[in-house]
Amino acid sequence: MSDAVVDSPAPAEQLYGCVVTYSRGEKVIHASRGNYIATLKKAIDDSFTMCTDLTAVDFLTYASTNRQLPSDISGERFEIVLNLISLERRERLRLRVQIAEGEATLPTAFDLFPGTEAMEREVFDMFGIEFEGHPDPSRILMPEDWEGHPLRKDFSVGRIPVQFKGAPS
């Protein structure tokens, strides 16, 4: 079971100027905030015309340093994950971007993939990562006046304590 765990990143494989790693056989490229839009443009030119998914991960409490990142990329608190599809080549490509906690912003991908509009709003709503230039930077799932961003790891789950009959209050 644990044999298949270690995915050896192919040394120095590059795609669109980004380092390529493989996670369980899935191709992942690691872009930076600086070349994020440029990388997406290159991917579109290379027939990855559909963005199926855009989401984020909060690595606040991920203790291990083993996040399958290439050696020259330092893991930050947030990570944006995009899944692209090439309809022509029938391929998937995943793109991971590290976002530091202090500057939780990223240029919007709306002008390249208009379908990311709702997904970026969801990421803003749930993680508080702002997308510069997004046409409608409002919350999408939570109420407008909600405080905090629920999928952040430091947002408490907020249980209602179970009330037992006769228990001392």
Binding site: S2, V5, D53, T55, V81, L87, P114
Partner: protein
């Protein structure tokens, strides 16, 4: 909710109102973006229009709410429509009324319990949700190659039957939305047959939690083949009735043809999938194009439309029922015997009888049901074709028995973005037809 719950640097919560704003509050560029100029015009055309003032006829238009409780909005979907007379100028879907934090909840549930959570997202095709979750967990565990043949074929059988039941429900609701009220009863009647089979196999009509990491919860019951055959033989005459009642009927065609048109470029740019993408002529079906399970070994056609209108989306779903039946017939022929789940003690609980005689089995049973099984570190994304489009599951594991992050790529959530583009310049009476043809499940949109 107090702000001290949020440690760290709170992001500037500069969220504007979710509602659609009136034209006078928007700049010309914002209006253009909202009506989809990004999709429809070249940059040059758009920039020319941006410099020219958008005609501001606010006296003539009004913004009204449709929903969140209108019966034909398929759940608590709220649409804000800017109307000029009966014409829809702009439309904005407002969602979140059914948000219950399922992705947050998933981080608190073990992989063993996760199935009960994800199955409640798209409650019309629960088995596909469980399937994609199980496939993702198995890929993380590295056991995706070891799943027994029978388990894989059983998963396909249930997935295809679920596709049929989901499309039959669409037939019912679509008919009801269009005013063919008797169709609602018929669609529900046929779906009931499939649900009765599910009940026999899984014990529940919905939210089965039957497909689990490592295989399935139980083997098929005795006589399952006859039950499936009864469904397959009962359906064709009913589908023929649908053709008489709807497909070939002039009123039905008038009501749907040319309504809610979307082009292939728009559909791809918006990331839509499933029948909406295929209605535009893009033959994209993950079962064929990025095959999973054993879809390589069965023959079926990918149904595509040509006009991208509501009628195409209706016809695609109707014919996909027939294609699913074709697949189910092949599954009946090819169903192998064998085990229905992987015999890996770390993942699969031991049989009840073993617990009485084996200490080791008791320990495994205890470990699996208290702590859950540990999943190696890593991240995977698995996408499969649900009745509504690509349903994806992205899991990040930190090596503990609970997912560090579980994200479901919900097809309805993405497809609903196509609503403003389909509705623009249409009539408000057609709005119902367009919503219906998207076939959104709000449980999955809001999660």
């Amino acid at each position: 909710m107090t702000s001290d719950l949020i440690a760290g640097t709170p992001a500037a919560t500069g969220e504007g109102p979710q509602e659609m704003r009136s034209r006078s509050e928007l700049t010309a560029k914002e209006v253009l973006r909202e009506v989809g100029s990004v999709l429809r015009m070249s940059e040059k055309e758009a920039s020319e229009l941006t410099s020219s003032p958008v005609e501001n006829d606010e006296e003539q238009t009004m913004i009204i709410n449709m929903g969140p409780q209108h019966p034909s909005t398929h759940g608590v979907l709220r649409l804000m429509l800017e109307l000029q007379g009966e014409k829809v100028l702009r439309c904005k879907p407002i969602i979140g009324y059914l948000h219950t934090g399922m992705e947050k909840q998933a981080e608190e549930l073990s992989y063993m319990q996760g199935g009960t959570n994800v199955t409640r997202m798209d409650y019309v095709s629960p088995l596909n949700n469980e399937l994609v979750f199980s496939l993702a967990v198995e890929k993380l565990l590295g056991i995706d190659g070891d799943i027994p043949e029978r388990a894989t074929w059983m998963r396909m059988l249930l997935s295809e039957l679920n596709r049929m039941s989901s499309h039959l429900l669409f037939m019912a609701t679509n008919g009801m939305d269009m005013g063919a009220v008797s169709m609602m009863i018929y669609g529900w009647r046929e779906r009931e047959e499939v649900l009765r089979f599910f009940q026999k196999v899984t014990g529940l009509r919905m939210n089965h939690n039957f497909i689990r990491p490592g295989g399935l919860a139980a083997d098929l019951p005795a006589g399952w083949r006859d039950d499936v055959l009864a469904i397959l033989e009962g359906l064709p005459p009913r589908l023929a009735e649908y053709d008489i009642l709807m497909t070939n009927q002039p009123i039905w065609r008038e009501r749907l043809q040319g309504v809610g048109v979307i082009t292939a470029e728009e559909a791809v740019a918006l990331g839509t999938s499933g029948p909406i993408l295929r209605s535009t002529g893009v033959a994209w079906d993950l079962r064929r194009d990025l095959p999973y399970l054993k879809y390589k070994e069965v023959e079926f056609d990918v149904i595509v439309g040509s006009y991208g209108d509501s009628f195409d989306r209706y016809a695609i779903r109707l014919n996909e029922i027939r294609e699913s039946m074709k697949i189910v017939y092949q599954i009946l022929d090819k169903m192998p015997s064998g085990d229905y789940r992987i015999q890996d003690k770390k993942v699969t609980p031991p049989p009840r009888a073993r617990i009485d005689e084996s200490m080791e089995a008791l320990i495994h049973h205890f470990k699996i049901f208290t702590e859950g099984f540990k999943v190696p570190e890593g991240e995977v994304y698995v996408g499969i074709e649900s009745p509504r489009g690509e349903i994806g599951c992205y899991i990040v594991s930190d090596g503990s028995p609970k997912p560090y992050r579980l994200h479901m790529r919900a097809p309805s959530f993405v497809n609903i973005q196509a609503l403003p583009h389909m509705m623009r310049d249409g009539l408000i009476a057609d709005a119902v037809a367009v919503i219906s043809s998207i076939d959104p499940v709000l449980g999955e949109v809001d999660r």
